[in-house]
Symmetry: D4
Subunit: 165 residues, 8 copies
């Protein structure tokens, strides 16, 4: 199976957050590549990456960045593949700056914004998109959600019982 | 062609914003249905809508709501189709409340958040997702983007020239 | 005495905060049950819990959640028992996201919002509601408030005296 | 039937918002009294009102105020009746100031905060509390919710049909 | 010399911040008393404190509180002495809640708001007010400001020189 | 009687707000002068105004400004008279910018911050300060507060009665 | 004299704000060109504009944009000329989104942020930069500042006199 | 080469942040001086510093401050050299207060605002301004940007490769 998702981040310091997207995709059996590309420090490389993404077989791009997080929007300007944006938190403004920079895109060029530091959901959303034409992945996603629900139910039984004692 | 996108809003007062999603999809040749379903006032209908969406052939759900905008997240809880959330602005907090309620989803159940009142982009994102397996739509999207770019270029020529005079 | 208050949280990680509601109710002699139910990961269980709550004899539901904290509003959609919502803080946005998601409910389906991490007050409010028809509880609440006032007076004497020395 | 709910506001300019609480209670058949009492300009009257409320037969107090909205908290300091707080918006900060002043109560003295300008929900919550021991009111509330749901369904049919044409 | 300034806080946990007001007043030779009085847990004591303050010879009241910081406003409701309010930070909202609750007072009853955790300035402002009719204190304040300016100049010389080396 | 209060604003566009300070002082029988001085456009005039204020007999300075509202802090740097700061709202950030610029003064140089657009309270606070050594003014202030309380009571009677009808 | 300043905006709807930069530069005798270039809709044109700016003789670029205002940062990525960014307000978030997107640039690629809608200051800053090597412009700027100061002084005399009457 | 840039901070506690401006300028071969001057505690020294800056050969002033960060604006009031402002974070409001105090300057007196704690970019912007008339510096800046881009590319290769393994 070829690479279907590109995970891009503006700085290697974002990897602690963005690796959650990579890992959940691996767990769901989706191949992803990981890149460090900066909208401001390597703008040509970022533009070229997005411009050529569809031709190289990518279906979804996940991009994470902090502060004035322009990377997702800049990539979206050069491709019509769906771009999922992850605001990376942690600076003095706690990630609100990154959230606004990612979510408030102007009409015409959407970015699908996730929660601050919500890289795991970026991976899941990418899988949901790919699953529209991949029934095996759809079933793996359904199984993932069942395990998640069972995890909640298990915690429900434990905490509920502990309190009653 | 059957309906591929469901556009759902929590109140008919959201239609002024959400109709932009419907119109851009129509312009791009994507069939959409429009529904008013409330996460709080008609929760069973909302749950049933999402639960049955995939079986009815829907591929993407667009949901808009204001204030404590639970609708996109509630729908996402009942389906693994991609859900695109549109925070509807205009109340006393200007839409920040709706934005946070939509974008800050917990790990496991993503919602693709758009800008406040960003319904047009919700339609475009839905089309981008559908275009992954519909080359005709992909071409119409590319044409849409070309016209958009030409619109900017036209304004550039006009304002640039007016100033020089 | 049967269980009168249900304390529900979206994740077991909320228990550190929500246990304060459970403990103050126990201190006031009110029986409560504790559950982990997720509006997004176990939506059917959450809906069923609220739908059946009144019939099982519950009088008040206390629900806590963080980030896009939909749980209190989702429970309120399925019951007309009073629902008290506790925004759980601690994420990148510090709990403002949870506060807005809980307090900004649309007309028709109220949630009684507490302070961020204000689970102790959720327990006290539930007791105040129950005390409307339980004079013994009303007296225990009055005693609780007297002890609280005496605690302040005691600290007043100590700090006031220390400074004068 | 005697008066069960006190609706208090800090200024007559809040009546435009707070009257929604009064009207929904009248619609639900709950008797309410309406008062203008200021935590800052008539503090003794406000304190006395809350201190004597239970003895006069009140069950719930609804209090609305704007800006540094101390009124709900000040009333709650003098009574153990449930106090529902309505942040009134409209000033330079749009009601965030009133929301924080009402919802962020310290441990021991809860106020049930509603949305900014959410006076209608304050009335409904008061009715939900009273309905715990008033089955006639419980039925009227259930009927209110059914009509509300039917209103959504009616709008759903209309907008859905209009779009399909 | 009798006590001229009352320093009041809503909880003994505020003493870490509020002690800065007490110490700067001592350094400036102004006698102050320190009290723990809660607007919500001991409202009668707080009201009585403010009501009797002028008669007991107080000239200025400094009040600090966190979260829904009603204490300064409540005291100001019962006295026409100048009340200086100190928002105490540190909770989930970082003190913005306390700041808004203190500074956004309605017309008619002012509170002089300081910065979040700005208790030292509260002491200095109280001294500036008292110095209007106490020339000895005015001179001590002037000396305090000169030392402060010299402290800046000293740091200027040190850092400026270190960098040049 | 000589001028005791200086009312300073950064721009004549602030007069709509700041005139409320001037009028309430006139109503209370306190003489005030009104000046337009800009911390940024006429910094020498502003500095000189503050530096000479005490010698000219002023007791309190009220300063209002919008946006990056440096004027109150700049005046406070040149005088040890109490400086009352009024954040003037109305720009794109609604006055939050002015509020933070005024209230968040560093240790050593306090400004007494009022609510956004709270110029009336600035006048009242100035009068409260002056009343510490002017018993006639103290009595006029007390009378002012009595009328204010009677105004609330009058509105209480009217709205309370109208609702009962 | 050739064009020294490029004024770029992301949409012609920004011209109402951005024209203030153009006009103040004309008033100061600095030639500027005006362009509409979108970071998202015409990214290649925007990149090319910045990349070639220095070679075409530009010295400063002023860029204005609203919402997720990526334009100034994107231009700064392609040139080492100073880039001045103007957040354009007016959307649901009032311009805070644009401000954060412009000012919170990562280390390495600065943008000089102005106030929300602060295009006039962008023009003045550009002139201040150019004046470092243009003594005629420096003198015109000094004259501009003198007129500005005289404008304040004139308003000071008028309002001060009106109040005294 | 004489000193071309003045780096000024309001307190020596800002040096941890502001030293990044000094070091990047040294790395780029630009001479800078470092000063501690307070807009509030040593206002005359701050005013004199700015007033005499151009005559002493300075070309750019970089000023950093926290909380009510008036220093950059106050310096800009006394010079028409470009002033770059650095909001220093870290207090209870995380630096938003300093950001607003610096960036929201009124028309006529610009300050070039950097990100919260963005002192490195302040140094780079100063170098970009100086490079307009210093081709050697322009080349060193270009080299600095190339190394920065190569640093990103190096991290790209490493993380990309590690993930593929």
């Amino acid at each position: 199976m070829h690479v279907q998702v590109g995970i891009v981040m503006g700085s290697d310091s974002d990897w602690g957050v963005m690796s959650k997207a990579a890992h959940v995709l691996r767990e769901l059996g989706v191949r992803a590549e990981v890149r460090v590309l900066s909208a401001h420090r390597t703008p040509d490389a970022a533009a070229e990456y997005a411009r050529s993404a569809a031709a190289r077989g990518l279906k979804v791009i996940i991009a994470g960045a902090g502060r004035a997080a322009h990377l997702p929007g800049v990539l979206a300007a050069y491709t019509q593949l769906p771009v999922v944006g992850v605001p990376v938190g942690g600076g003095p403004l706690g990630g609100i700056d990154a959230l606004y920079s990612i979510v408030q895109m102007p009409p015409g060029v959407p970015v699908a914004a996730m929660a601050v530091d919500g890289a795991q959901n970026a991976g899941i959303l990418a899988a949901q998109i790919l699953a529209l034409s991949d029934s095996g992945l759809a079933e793996r996603l359904a199984e993932y959600r069942r395990r998640m629900a069972e995890g909640v139910a298990e915690k429900d039984r434990r905490i509920s019982a502990e309190w009653q004692e």
